[in-house]
Amino acid sequence: MAAEKLALAKAITESLRTAMENDPKVIVMGEDVGKLGGVFRVTDGLQKDFGERRVIDTPLAESGIVGTAIGLALRGYRPVVEIQFDGFVFPAYDQIVTQLAKMHARALGKIKLPVVVRIPYGGGIGAVEHHSESPEALFAHVAGLKVVSPSNASDAYWMMQQAIQSDDPVIFFEPKRRYWDRAEVEREAIPGPLHKARVVREGTDVSLVAYGPMVKTCLEAAEAAAAEGKSVEVVDLRSMSPIDFDTVQATTEKTGRLVVVHEAPVFLGTGAEIAARVTERSFYHLEAPVLRVGGYHVPYPPARLEDEYLPGLDRVLDAVDRSLAY
């Protein structure tokens, strides 16, 4: 099959479909994932094609969803569970942190928990409270979990394939405001490793590292900066746990300046870890401190203020300028 242009959401649908076709143990569970196809239609059509036994509408209880997915994994299944929105993952947080993340180690490796937890995340869609958050750091800090986020349809397709094949639990953050962005998905391509970052634009003056929804913003910022004569390199991190520090280090040492961008609050966000570790690795290469652009330490604001809260083109460019000013 040749490459086709798919919306990011649709690429995930197709990836789930492929995985379910290839492996009868792959099942999909969550609230409204059946007939409705999920509130974002990511599971659209799957129940029709694979039946109610493999695409399971669950009771309204996130701890129950993740907890039973663990039990199903112990029975040999590979559940892909959907959490309806970022802000609703917290009732499941205990099962994720104390059980899903630790059970493989607890069993000295004798059992595996290939569970994927899909979470549409991030803001920018004008939603009400709890529907726009970016809680990835709260998962990345927890050993035993892997945490990834695609920024485009092609990665969405392939990273979902790899997440489902992974024998570790994967928290799969889907950039909901990019769900409708279309890109070529080459179904035959052999993808790189799941946890490898990717340089998506070459540059020489400053490096931007971002993931998920902010990659597009950073590419736009790089474009705008280019118009001003600044050469900006952009790295799509793709994985927040583990982080591909080699790629981040390489870009940092290439340009000498690094700006990390994410929607999540800056304070203790993934940018903190990147800044700390890269500074340690590349101390003598840095022309400027690693700068961070992200959300503020306040509850996610109401929709009419989210543009002030979210890192946009201008705030990224401002950070680029500040970095260059050192």
Binding site: L36, G37, L60, F88, G126, H130, Y296, P301, P302, L305
Partner: protein, 429 residues
Amino acid sequence: MTAKKAPARAAAPAPAKSAGPAKSAAKAPGRRGSAAKTPATARRAKATPAKKAPAAPAAPAFAAPADEPELVQLLTAEGVRVPHPEYDRWVEDITADELRGFYRDMVLTRRFDAEATSLQRQGELGLWPSLLGQEAAQIGSGRALRPDDYVFPTYREHGVAWCRGVDPTLLLGMFRGVNNGGWDPTSNNFHLYTIVIGSQALHATGYAMGIGLDGADSAVVAYFGDGASSQGDVAEAFTFSAVYNAPTLFFCQNNQWAISEPTERQTRVPLYQRARGYGFPGVRVDGNDVLAVLAVTRAALAHIRSGQGPMLVEAFTYRMGAHTTSDDPTRYRADDERQAWEAKDPIERLRAHLLAEGLADEAFFASLEEESEAMGRSVREAIRAMPDPDRLAIFENAYADGSSLVDEERAQFEEYQASFADVSAGEGE
């Protein structure tokens, strides 16, 4: 005897379809449901003996839950007042004036709701969760409360807010995106809408424990939906309220849908029975019958105020619209279900009653129509006049005592904003 039971089990992970008395009864709330027994007995013959007990008898006949779903009703779908041995006394005092008042409450609430839905379509709101069809459940329960009682709503209790005297336009702020909850919960004893399903049941329980500590006889109402009944928080609220004898009324509006999921995805048996497992009473009431809801809520509150601890009321009703303006129910439910429920409309029902009993005349309905129009206009005007918040508001109220971190970020933000001012100033020159 020990044959593989594949067919019986094969369908297991899909919700036990036949086990849906709530859903079946849904088709006829007036009828006494009878489905509860079916699933428990369906495969009784297919017992598989335990391995260690080759001579073990067939699977035992454990009793199905004893109670059929009893639905308290005082007004039929046609608006005919039917007697009820237990609940008549709770509404004996209701005057024609009060009945007309409930009608007005429901009409204005529905009008407000319709206005909000159309404001959403016009782009004035980002989202709206309509209460269409649930007016009686909300007005009947809301009107049973005292001012000192405290209400913890979900996000759909616009009718209860109305009874509490909350300015309806305040409800719109969060759906317009200007705030995350725009009213002062303490001024009307009506808490903010809670979006994370089930959480408020615990807040209600804690508040009720506080009433107990204060030696007061107020009550607390925790509203929640059929879907919410599955959340651990609601179960824990049941436990805490029961153990502490807290004056909590758990008021479940079973509108039969949690977005696209019918009630049988949440429970095998009618939800009011949940309470018994926790040692307190549960009652199911026709949620489209404002009088019955009032009676049942009053009785429940009296029980609670008398120091006997919590109660559960399940108002059996129907979500006549979409889950929210973002939802498309045609994907998951048949239109004839909705049509069947239109015949049980809570407002039409009371209107028929008022007319049949000669309790309201055309002048009443005409003036209400006018009031309703005026309210629609004023809501429209209010929402369009609603100012956007100042951008600095994002740094307000994160903390009550402030935080040096927020101060630092606010300062950076102001500096950043100021840099644009410089630019534009510069450009202006």
